[in-house]
């Protein structure tokens, strides 16, 4: 156990207390905390929209909210969750906190840009939030033209500007990570000695840097079309609406990998630590991350199989989509193999890890249904798609985020969370999640289209099940929110390394000092050297 206790040693949390010390900080750890507070806020905003939607869908008729309000709810749910929660979630919170420590650096390469990225996030967020409060937007998060550019009467422009601004926040964070990982690794920390979380953050950053600008310019063109009434995408004015979809999905499909790759990185850390065994197939795990990141750029057309895209292009995109499943399969098998002959301790983070693997497996395999041309024709734009991507984004990305938060909470705050409550919450979330989204697979194959405010009565039973699950899921999210805050004051003192984990971040005291390391560590071996540790302990 560490000789330090939270109250005596000097660390990033007690290095200054005023608002200035937070709002002008360039410390990556404080910026991570700022991000955590902001994205938690947006998570509950987005969750609130989702809950109202599920309430409306309890009955086939539109009796709770009007069609217009419902359309705004699902649009704002998607926009909030995708851009203001999921995309920044693991990179900006856990990534910001951990990347410099894991590579053995005192901070990211450009600390001021890092703070700037948070301010850009806040400005983009406030812009979008204001647009939502003063009227909202009803285009769906996909902004398909010509509806968004010509026909919608809601606040399309302010929301688009908010997302445009936000994009620069993503780019700056990613740029910082790429440069930090390339140039600031501690002596001896070669690429194949890096934790998989770093590989995941690197792959994610590459996607962010290369995809986000395309979203920015696409939304800018959408804005130009809407403001000046000129035709870029509107066929009535000579444009082609499918061009918008190509450009949009060139960003938005890789965006899914922006959400899931970091969670894969987190889960790799969790599994290997709590199995007390080196991750199986380290190099394959690392390269599969890069493979997903790069092949993931080439599959966007599978969102457009029934859009009027040519059948030939559909086949090309379908084949590429099947290929991108392979590196994902490699990851799942390797995680399972890591457990073999391990010594598994059931702490909360690994429960989230198991939950992730299971839900991601289902989410990934149902992705193959959507990559299959003939079948996608039927299930496209139905609840099958909704269920599929929530298995990836909520079952995958959010589970990974929560697992990571629990795993590194002792490092971030110096306190342990209450283990009993945490296990209970993980169980509630798992049950609530499956009850919410599994019925939606069936609904989708039955043919219930997405974005429907009213629906034929034969779909009701499944919708009631889904709403019941959503209630449980909602409560499940409130439990960690409460006990994590509680633990800040009442949690047990965590000590330097409560999980006996490897990795440079565990070499520093908890919470870490301002510049992370008094002396930059020198790395001499591979990561995850748990083997033989059992004997040492005895």
């Amino acid at each position: 156990m560490s000789p330090h206790s939270i109250t005596t040693h000097e660390h990033y949390l007690n290095a200054g207390y005023g608002p200035r010390s937070w709002l002008l900080t360039t410390d990556h750890k404080r910026i991570a905390i700022l991000y955590m507070l902001s994205i938690t806020f947006f998570f509950f905003v987005g969750g609130f929209f989702a809950f109202l939607m599920r309430l409306e869908l309890l009955t086939p008729d539109g009796d709770l909210v009007s069609a217009e309000t419902y359309n705004k709810l699902f649009s704002m749910h998607g926009i909030t969750m995708v851009w203001f929660f999921l995309i920044p979630s693991i990179p900006s919170v856990l990534g910001n906190f951990l990347v410099p420590m894991m590579v053995g650096a005192r901070d990211v390469a450009f600390p001021r840009l890092n703070l700037l990225s948070w301010y850009i996030y806040v400005v983009g967020g406030l812009f979008t939030l204001a647009a939502m409060i003063f009227g909202g937007v009803d285009t769906g998060w996909t902004f398909y033209t010509p509806f968004s550019s010509t026909y919608a009467h809601s606040n399309v422009i302010p929301v688009v500007i908010g997302i445009f601004i936000l994009g620069f926040s993503s780019i700056l964070t990613a740029l910082n990570f790429i440069v930090t990982i390339h140039t600031m690794r501690a002596p001896g920390l070669t690429w194949f000695r890096l934790p998989l979380f770093i590989w995941a953050m690197y792959a994610t950053s590459v996607i962010l840097v290369l995809a986000t600008p395309v979203l920015a310019i696409t939304l800018a063109m959408l804005g130009v079309e809407r403001i000046f009434g000129v035709g870029i995408f509107d066929p009535a004015l000579g444009g082609d609406p499918l061009l918008f979809q190509h450009l949009f999905w060139f960003y938005s499909h890789p965006a899914v990998y922006i959400m899931i790759l970091p969670a894969m990185g987190v889960v790799s850390e969790l599994i290997t630590c709590f199995a007390r065994k080196k991750v199986f197939g380290y190099r394959f795990m690392a390269f599969s991350l890069l493979a997903i990141a790069s092949v993931g750029f080439l599959v966007w057309g599978h969102h457009m199989f029934v859009s009027g895209q040519s059948a030939y292009a559909g086949m090309v995109f379908s084949a590429l989509s099947f290929i991108v499943a392979i590196p994902s399969a490699v990851k799942v098998f390797n995680w399972a193999a890591t457990l073999y002959k391990g010594s598994i301790a059931y702490h909360t983070p690994v429960l989230y890890g198991f939950g992730f693997i299971g839900l991601f497996t289902i989410g990934g395999l149902t992705g193959l249904f959507l990559a299959s041309l003939a079948l996608d024709v039927h299930v496209h734009d139905t609840y099958f798609v909704i269920a599929h991507f929530h298995y990836i984004m909520v079952g995958g990305a959010v589970m990974g985020y929560l697992g990571g938060i629990h795993y590194w909470w002792p490092k971030m705050t110096g306190r342990m969370y209450p283990e009993g409550w945490a296990k209970f919450a993980a169980l509630v979330l798992f049950v609530g999640f499956n009850l919410t989204f599994f019925p939606q697979f069936i609904l989708g194959y039955l043919g219930m289209p997405r974005r429907y405010h009213v629906y034929p009565p034969e779909f009701q039973v499944l919708n009631v099940l889904s709403t019941a699950g959503a209630t449980i899921l909602g409560i499940g999210y409130l439990i960690p929110f409460v006990y994590l805050i509680w633990s800040l004051r009442h949690g047990k003192n965590a000590g330097r390394n409560p999980w006996r984990a490897t990795g440079l971040e565990w070499l520093t005291p908890s919470p870490p000092p301002v510049h992370n390391f008094d002396e930059i560590p020198v790395v001499t071996g591979e990561p995850y050297t748990y083997a033989g540790e059992e004997e040492q302990r005895e």
Partner: protein, 319 residues
């Protein structure tokens, strides 16, 4: 007021059982791999729990043969499904010859349907049993999508061009159709029903009270009314080419190249005549974009298609 608890949609077209077979195949694969992973994790997690007496000798952290296995096996399975799904898609993509053509126009927020015999419907589609039916669809405003779950087909309906889908119904009855692409406030009300009828019954329905003049006849009236006839003279001496026999033929274009005069070309040439001008003619035809409704364009096309007979030699080139 519960309406039953179906978990599988009705299957009422020739495509439906084949799509369902693909679905079942993928389902078996999914259940197999999910079970494999779940079982492996559960088994390892219990057997190798902390403090258990399980044998942990020689723990391995890499194995090239294993990695190759779980790369190559999924790859082969993936490509199996890829070929299955793509072959089926190709077969489902192109309508067989002799299909019944029905025009569909989507607009916020209703479906307008026009049969060649002149019958018009809104949010209802009557079709004969056992005959292929092709929907020729366009939108008047935003993107819609025509989705018939019982037939397992769906196609986005775009403004400014025709998209098509086809089906052959196998079971009489009434089935939902939905708009599947979000199109604005009342998107969820843009639904209707397909009524599959026995052929004889269908013929009676076509001839019934709902019937009007056939589309081609109405189109002929429009052809006169909008002054098309003053240039497109039948003997090919006008400022525009004669239209008899044009539909479906290959047309040579001004500035090189050829185009097949399908519905899409005819539609474009009515709305935006300068886009692809027939060789030997000048782009003098007025633009009818905004002048004609999608229904009227369809009627004109049907009229042009009804002008059979040999094609009169084009003015500037060989026919």
């Amino acid at each position: 007021m519960m309406h039953g608890f179906p978990i599988f949609p009705p299957s009422a077209s020739t495509a439906a059982p084949r799509v369902d077979a693909l679905f079942t195949g993928l389902m078996i694969m999914t259940v197999f791999f999910s079970a494999l992973i779940f079982f492996a994790i559960a088994f390892f997690a219990i057997r190798y729990r902390e403090g258990s007496k399980a044998n942990r000798d020689n723990p391995r952290s890499e194995s090239l043969p294993l990695e190759l296995t779980w790369m190559i096996v999924p790859l082969c399975i993936s490509f199996g499904f890829y070929f299955w799904a793509s072959t089926l898609y190709t077969q489902m993509h192109v309508a067989p010859p002799g299909a019944v053509d029905v025009y569909v126009v989507g607009k916020q927020w209703m479906w307008k349907i026009q049969h060649q015999q002149g019958n018009r419907e809104i949010n209802e589609l009557h079709v004969p049993l056992g005959r292929p039916v092709r929907l020729i669809m366009t939108s008047q405003d935003v993107i819609h999508s025509f989705f018939i779950p019982a037939f397992r087909i769906k196609q986005d309906v775009l403004p400014g061009r025709y998209s098509t889908e086809w089906f052959q119904a196998t079971t009489p009855g009434e089935y939902h159709f939905f708009c599947a692409q979000f199109c604005g406030t009342s998107h969820a009300s843009m639904i209707g029903r397909v009524i599959v009828m026995q052929p004889a019954e269908y013929e009676r329905w076509l001839a019934g009270a709902a019937g009007g003049a056939p589309m081609a006849t109405v189109g002929e009236g429009l052809f006169q009314q909008f002054g098309c006839a003053s240039c497109h003279l039948a003997n090919n001496s006008g400022r525009g080419p004669a239209l008899a026999g044009v539909a479906g033929s290959t047309v040579e274009l001004e500035g090189g190249g050829t185009v097949v005069a399908d519905r899409e070309y005819l539609r474009e040439s009515i709305l935006d005549p300068a886009a692809k001008v027939v060789r030997g003619y000048k782009p003098v035809m007025p633009v009818f974009r905004g002048q004609l409704s999608p229904d009227q364009v369809a009627q004109l096309i049907e009229y042009i298609r009804s002008l059979g007979g040999p094609r009169v030699a084009a003015k500037g080139g060989t026919p």
